[in-house]
């Protein structure tokens, strides 16, 4: 068992090492190593899932990584209901995205091709470390590792300035969050004396409420960075500069959900801090609404999906924030399918149109790209929350929990956002796949992609359609499975509320909202009544605010980035570095050379002078010897 767990985590690393070290040998054949390096763990993790379902748990130390006095941190893995769900999701989705990448990265030069698969495998390794870690520090290693791979893959086309900048933006924005995360770790260690989950949670009740609130808020800061929540979401839209499968894998399905996983993992701490829970839920729902509003008017295919990801992550945070950790994880699970799928479809469209991303230039593509179109629609139905597609079950579960937990405001905003979600995603569908082609030349060149790309899309579409049905599985369904480890205080109340009536009414409302959203999109973008262009004119101020994304990027530039760069350039560089540091270094050198210039006058070259020096030296030495 232990060997299997090790295999799951380390096979991707081996794959990355082979492709990374021998990239000039593997070249075009890189995927023959990279794909099995993910597929084998995927198969093993299914086996582990079965084992865990039968009640098997694993929490063991492989070896002591750091042992300094009382500070002991192991390399250890933890396998329980929560991590096995993540494990299966990550490996399964990654496998298909790796396969898809074979087709998508077709035009890359040889070495770059191997480099791409190296990064991708390395990413999966770090992601598995993140979800399997049995202590906070190892989790943080995974956390930073996926951040690194995200940086490398966003900047994959590093010759492009915008891609390189987007990579930096993602990395630096995450640093802001990680600063909170690390401080939280320090506090946990200081007050609980350990970083191992088992010990931390066993002793968590010793924390006072303010302290628990502080720790959880700091952890949440880390989560807002990694999972792109307000105020640190700005990096995710720019992260679309990377190859589309990367957006699909890292920036939709797996890495960005790490924050949700981390909070669900730390649920013992969060249960101690009701205030933090409130903050998480409110930040989540506001992010959901905020990102959805920006997606309404954006014309960039991938950016719409990026905003949609931010929005859906907001839902997950609502889930964990109202104490329905299992519902949050369930949404994470279904979202991985349908958002991964939609990114793959977007990549497929982009591939067919030679990199064109502007939806206003597309249209009518369904005729040319049947598989892409249909799978995309399945994904869109799933995200809109139309039953029986996956998103319906999980999103509805979250909203349901929010409602019964008494977060009426959160529920209301979440429901409105669900309508907006349905609208923008079908706007995207209608603009891309229906209507008349708006750019004839692009349309003529469009073609369906080879099976290596369409099959992963079909598989994920099946997942998007049916993954939600796990909610109906025996034993409480998906959430019941995850809830087996959520020994939470007010989780019981939620369970009790499950049986209540009124749930039916909520479901009707959310389905109705979704259908209204789709209907409005249909009217506006197929029937053209009301005409979207006219609408944009009439509500020009609102349109401009949304289209320019509330000028948040500009705001950050004005308040944080430009001052930082300015201070760095004019104070830290010109004064501190050039003036003080270089001044000290050069000053020491100049002082030495000055002393040398003076003292070398002693070197007269005349032998009698040296003899005098010798005599003087002898007299001094003998004098000292005699006197003392």
């Amino acid at each position: 068992m232990r060997d299997l767990i090790l295999a799951v985590v380390f096979i991707p690393l081996i794959g990355a090492a082979i492709n990374g070290i021998f990239c000039w040998k593997t070249r075009r054949k890189a995927h023959y190593i990279a794909v099995p390096a993910i597929a084998i763990p995927a198969v093993i993790s299914l086996y582990l899932l079965v084992k865990v379902a039968q009640g098997y748990h694993f929490d063991d130390v492989l070896y002591w990584w750091i042992a300094i006095g009382d500070f002991r941190v192991p390399i250890g893995f933890l396998l329980d209901e929560l991590s096995v769900v993540m494990l299966v999701t990550v490996t399964f989705i990654s496998t298909w995205i790796h396969i898809y990448s074979i087709g998508y990265m077709d035009h890359e030069p040889d070495i770059s091709y191997a480099r791409y698969f190296t990064y991708l495998n390395l990413f999966v390794f770090f992601m598995l470390v993140l979800v399997m870690a049995n202590n906070y520090l190892l989790m943080f290693v995974g956390w930073e590792g996926v951040g690194l791979c995200s940086y490398l893959l966003i900047g994959y086309w590093y010759e492009k300035m915008s891609a390189a900048n987007a990579g930096m933006k993602a990395f630096i924005t995450n640093r802001v969050g990680d600063f909170g995360f690390t401080i939280a770790l320090f506090l946990i260690y200081k007050h609980l004396g350990s970083l191992i989950f088992h010990d931390v949670f066993a002793r968590a009740h010793e924390l006072s409420v303010p302290l628990a609130t502080l720790i959880t808020l700091l952890l949440f800061t880390g989560a807002t960075g990694k999972s792109a929540q307000i105020p640190l979401y700005v990096w995710l839209p720019d992260a679309m500069e990377g190859p589309t499968p990367v957006s699909s894998l890292i920036h939709a399905a797996t890495m960005v959900t790490a924050g949700v996983y981390m909070i669900a993992r730390s649920h013992v701490l969060y249960n101690l801090a009701p205030f933090t829970m409130e903050v998480v839920a409110v930040v989540g729902v506001i992010t959901a609404w905020f990102a959805a509003s920006m997606a309404l008017v954006n014309n960039d295919l991938k950016r719409v999906l990026a905003f949609s990801t931010i929005s859906q992550l907001g839902y997950m945070f609502v889930g964990v924030g109202v104490g329905a950790y299992a519902a949050g994880i369930f949404h994470l699970f279904t979202h991985a399918f349908f958002k991964g799928l939609m990114f793959l479809c977007a990549g497929s469209v982009m591939h067919a149109l030679h990199g064109e991303l502007n939806m206003q230039k597309m249209g009518g593509l369904l005729k040319k790209m049947k598989i892409t179109g249909i799978t995309f629609i399945v994904g869109a139905l799933a995200i809109s929350g139309v039953p029986p597609f996956a998103g319906f079950w999980s999103k509805d579960s979250i909203l349901h929990h929010a409602f019964v937990e008494g977060h009426k405001f959160v529920w209301l905003v979440g429901t409105i956002t669900a309508g907006m979600t349905a609208f923008y995603i079908f706007r995207l569908i209608f603009l891309t796949f229906f209507g008349e082609p708006r750019d004839k030349e692009l349309y003529e060149h469009a073609h369906e992609n080879p099976p290596v790309m369409t099959i992963p899309m079909i598989v994920l579409a099946i997942g998007s359609a049916f993954a939600g049905l796990f909610a109906l599985a025996p034993g409480g369904g998906f959430e019941g499975f995850v809830n087996r480890i959520m020994h939470a205080g007010h989780e019981a109340a939620v369970h009790a509320a499950h049986g209540e009536g009124g749930a039916g009414g909520l479901i009707v409302i959310s389905v109705a909202v979704a259908l209204i959203g789709i209907g409005i999109a249909y009217l506006m973008y197929i029937k053209r009544t009301p005409d979207p262009v006219e609408m944009a004119q009439r509500f020009r101020p609102i349109y401009l605010v949304l289209y320019n994304r509330y000028w948040v990027d500009e705001l950050y530039f004005a308040f944080f980035i430009n001052p930082t760069v300015g201070i760095s350039r004019h104070v830290l560089w010109k004064i501190v570095d050039v003036g003080i540091i270089d001044g000290i270094v050069n000053g020491v050198a100049r002082l030495c050379s000055l002393i040398g210039a003076g003292v070398r006058k002693l070197q007269t070259g005349f032998i009698p002078d040296y003899a005098w020096f010798i005599l003087a030296g002898i007299i001094v030495v003998c004098g000292i010897k005699i006197l003392f």
């Binding site: 070197q603 007269t604 070259g605 005349f606 032998i607 009698p608 003899a611 005098w612």
Partner: protein, 99 residues
């Protein structure tokens, strides 16, 4: 009393030699002065050896004389070569090592 006299002769010989090395410019004269210094030292060695009844002093003297002989040979060779190159044996002609 006799011991004191011998010591005095040794020290004075040494000092004459040292002064000569320090103030003369002629390399040969400086060379002679070095020999004087060596012999002054030898004198003191002998005196102490006799006075204390120790044999080591006399051994040291023999060594010094041997070294001085070798040194004289090499030194004269250097001075000859120097004379050929520089056209004189004044030591202030050797100034290439100046700062």
């Amino acid at each position: 009393m006799v011991m004191g006299l011998i010591f005095a002769i040794g020290v004075i010989t040494f000092c004459i030699g040292a002064l000569g090395v320090l103030i003369r410019k002629n390399a040969v004269v400086m060379f002679l002065c070095i020999e004087l210094m060596l012999n002054g030292a030898n004198m003191l060695f002998m005196a102490v050896s006799k006075f204390k009844g120790l044999i080591e002093g006399q051994v040291a003297v023999l060594f010094i004389m041997a070294v001085a002989a070798a040194e004289a040979a090499i030194g004269m060779a250097i001075i000859t070569a120097f004379y050929r190159r520089r056209g004189g044996i004044e030591v202030d002609k050797a100034e290439l090592l100046k700062w």
